[in-house]
Symmetry: D2
Subunit: 361 residues, 4 copies
């Protein structure tokens, strides 16, 4: 974890700005001999791609991933990873040439504009530059590689709440997630959200959301206590996604309201692995996976780029007012779903290799 | 961040088990020439020390910190840091010799027992070994050193909720925090909690809690996007504390329920730095501090060591039942307060040095 | 330092193979606000570029560097670094399509072929794949960025020996270095080397060389003892260059033959900094720069790709024989000169930022 | 590799000064379940211990190592590593209380005194403080743990040269190494060195030396190209030892004088692994082990603490003169032998785990 690199053995480094010629990621430390192709990574980018419904930003990007290094035809004729760095690049094609003079001079409250100037002295203000959610395309591409490392694991994320409206657990149907523009497992909630998010969009506003993610198939033993705990790494991975303000593992904040006997996950003999009567812990104890599903929840704030004017200051410190023009993202949490999945895959791939390295298991 | 090391420039590595001869921490990368003494670090350990009220574990440890390296009398006659590793050690004195045969053989549900065995093949089961909250004494000692690096910053943490009972913001009085055994800023809540936690204690149960932490004086510009964002690092630091299951920055999960215009922190011209009308962001935007107070909340689960029997399995996979004997901690979140403060200090110290290194500011 | 990343604060990650579509480097942690352009980096690549004389490999590559991210027009109208990752890419254009069936199946003794197969199970054998000296183009590009960080430092490298023939210190003329195809500061030696290397080339053989490098202007105080000592980092940086087998700082192995009073660098009062009567230490004591010129020497072996047949085995373990066909590099040390300079710049840039981060100096 | 930490998965962090209460090392990332005891580590410290002959410093330290954490009795009744940090401590007992006023004020040329002051502003000057070779006791202790990780590897180091006097390869007898105070494998050279070093000692001078080290049993495939190459890591490890000024792998600088066909290590079919006709490469190609013995040579300068006066300056910049009083080390390279062995073990242990982590082999 450093400036723009994440991971310890399975490491990735992203680069690029919203309106530069391209963005990309270098995945380093991927094990050799894994079958890989652009076609195996592209679906994850397609899921994240903007402009697929009126509920996400209308930026239109094909987001075609190219593999530039680290793969080669193996003796069996299949293209495989070679163990050397895998460089993935995505060209930017829809950098709409527009007038950035306003955003260049006035800070959007809630956005990274002011903080970047305070840190670096100036910034690439076009489309948010490096702080744009567009960078998450690179993480999603890297996540596609990470999944090759952990074939034993299945990852499923979905939106469980938009604004104050939550899904009903009784309606949960994983098959629904791909059937609506909200990655929503509750068909009825999806219908309500169509009305809600459309209203938000037409008002030029935005709204927050909660994304849940479940990883099944993680064996017991992954995690590197005490300062590379699996849950600590997941918290960092998720909190580092644009617009995220909260992370919970298992019961999260609800656990604070419980008593010890309510929060225990009693164990029973099982075949091969123990059986647990509950999963309040979200599959992690002492920073190490228990073999239960790894469960987490992530809070996305409403994006600060809205069409409603907000008081602000200029970069010379004078009072001003700003409103976003053109494309905007009424509920950025929706497109967060593939990003949460990617970060889950990236953390788990790294921990699988760490565990193998330290213990040989 | 690696196995047992945290930080990038200001790094610390902890070692030690609950019932070994001692535990300690090596702080590496501390700037030279800072005045330091054991007396400057001891108060933080005293605040965390167990056995100070009936509401925390009755283990009785003096927790005296010793400085073994990295300091020397400077030409001005004051003992100062030399820029070399500072080794701090705390001896374990109250390792009550008791019978560990039960905990050696049966896993405590919710505890790290089973996960450690799954990872490492066996474990030091005495008092939880390495996974014991006792290790946080080392973090708190390191935090005492970190505070020397950031004299411009004030850090205040407190318990804001025990079980379902929250403090009333209208009663908030920082002066109360040191006046009750709960680090509670609301005198009335503190009275209610006495009854609540005593009841929990007598029932042999435990209860969860929420700790809030506010750091004021952090200048704008600290944070290293994209994968060492200030909020991502804080999330990792907090989620890595024993028994923590959730972290929020600023409004956290509540932000998911808001609209963009509600969540904005409008800016006004100020003297020196801008003024903000609100702080929904918790002082961090784009992973970089904004100059507002850094605000976070941390959820502690109820500890799983309770006197109420829970079904479990033995380390040979057979059905069993377990209950903790002897000392137990009815509300581990209370003693989390100095640990949360320490981790806040450690992350901020590291980011101050990182920012200086990269930008010279 | 990890898989394919070098550096701590000023970090770079390279990717790419000899015969892939491109190779590149991501420079992360570069300070913001430094004036930068492709034209400022290109000259270093031009100096390293192959095919410029008959004494280096005849591969013909323009090696044009492109900046893909991390730069933007600053308020003063100059393109500057933004503090975000700088992605540099160099396209491969002369991947001569030739028959690789022989090298795919038989290991070249002395080359990385066998070791890569032993590690990774298979390899990209085209032109040496990842182990090709072509990758050093990416390091040289990164070195061009590093130089922007250390304008106070001048770096000069040159070939001091080819085979057994050394330069005569009495003939040393820095102005000669750019005047001959050997980066040789001794005009007479350069003439001898023309004959020597041509003979080696025509014989289809190769020959070793020694490169010396001097960095002036390094202030006292850079270096991070004990395990990121300036000399230790330089040793790693140099030994990691293809074909390098030895590194000396200052007097190096000659110091082993001296007595303490011969090896001392006596100090005298100077203006601003002390004066030294000698520089046996090569400008580094205790892992920290002393303010004297940093001096090192690097031994390059003769490249193992020669036209003379050598006994070897096939990748199925059978006895075979191999000789390199087509282009070959009779003295790879020559082209090592810009690479040694680049690595010197990269290490110094990193240590300048580390020093500033830890001490504020 | 960072400030005072070395390694990636198998990491160690040292702390302590020459005249502080103790020095120590925290070994983190050691695999679990390895049998370990103080008695298994002590012999390495005994080999390095000063005061064992008149040819090394007369400081008298028992250098008893204590294990403070990370070990526990396994179910089989044997004390084993638990996978948690192993804290090792060595108390300083012979910190002769002497007058340090001279060394506090005047810099010893060639020593780290001036550089430390330039970096840190002041320093612990007692016995060299952190820059003392005494710190290598901690590395040697860590090396003792590293050896438990690589039982398949045998490491042998010896002094091959003192001043200008080299051993005769024809006299090489490994059995001699432990039979003389010089770790010398040539009995005749050892006799000559008795005279030579005694003369140096009586003259109050010091003399340089070369240490060679051979590791057998390293399988092919260890090493992490391109920036954690096995040879680059070894170079950093060796150059970071006090007084070291040069490192060679295999033929080292001699390779610069060879032609390609002379330097090749021809391969023949072997049983299990290939056979090599020579080992010019020193067992490493492309940064990866080849299965041949790993061979390196390390140059130690003569120590700068001599009884002969040398011109210097005071810490206020005035002309002065200094000579070391009391104990001195006439040939510091001799005691470098166990340190070189320890660093070899530490690098190899780390690379074994890295290789396993990335490739599963």
């Amino acid at each position: 974890m450093s400036w723009n690199t994440f991971g310890r053995i399975f490491r990735f480094t992203t680069w690029g700005e919203s309106h530069g010629p391209a963005l990309g990621v270098v995945v380093d430390g991927c094990p050799p001999e894994l079958a890989i192709s652009e076609a195996m990574i592209q679906p994850y980018l397609d899921a994240r791609r903007p402009g697929q419904s009126k509920f996400t930003t209308q930026r239109n990007e094909p987001d075609q991933v190219k593999i530039l290094s680290g793969v080669f035809e193996a003796p069996d004729g299949v293209q495989r990873t070679t163990g050397t760095p895998i460089s993935l690049m995505i060209e930017n094609t829809d950098q709409r040439s527009k007038d950035y003079s306003e955003v260049a001079k006035a800070y959007r409250p809630g956005h990274a504009d002011y903080a970047y100037d305070a840190k670096y002295g100036f910034r690439d203000y076009r489309g948010g530059g490096r702080s744009s959610a567009r960078e998450t395309a690179a993480r999603v591409a890297a996540g596609g590689v990470a999944r090759l490392v952990i074939p034993e694991v299945s990852i499923m994320a979905y939106v469980s709440q938009i604004g104050g409206d939550r899904i009903d657990p009784a309606n949960f149907d994983a098959g629904q997630i791909g059937q609506n523009p909200f990655f929503c497992p509750d068909a009825e909630a999806a219908k309500r959200w169509e009305v809600l998010v459309d209203e938000v969009r037409l008002a030029g506003s935005s709204i927050g959301a909660v994304v849940e993610c479940v990883a099944t198939g993680v064996p017991a033993g992954w995690g590197a206590p005490l300062y590379a705990k699996l849950d600590a790494d997941l918290a960092a991975a998720m909190m580092g996604i644009n617009a995220v303000k909260g992370v919970e593992i298992g019961d999260g904040f609800a656990a604070a309201t419980l008593r010890g006997e309510q929060n225990a996950d009693p164990m029973r003999p099982g075949s091969g692995a123990p059986q647990f009567d509950a999963n309040h812990a979200g599959g992690i104890a002492g920073g190490i996976s228990t073999g239960q599903p790894v469960v987490l929840r992530v809070a996305f704030k409403p994006t600060s780029s809205i069409l409603i004017p907000v008081p602000t200051i200029s970069n010379t410190g004078e009072a001003s007012e700003i409103r976003t023009k053109g494309r905007h993202d009424p509920c950025v949490g929706i497109r967060g779903v593939p990003v949460v999945e990617a970060m889950m895959a990236l953390v788990l791939a790294d921990h699988k290799l760490l565990h193998r390295g330290q213990t040989g298991r």
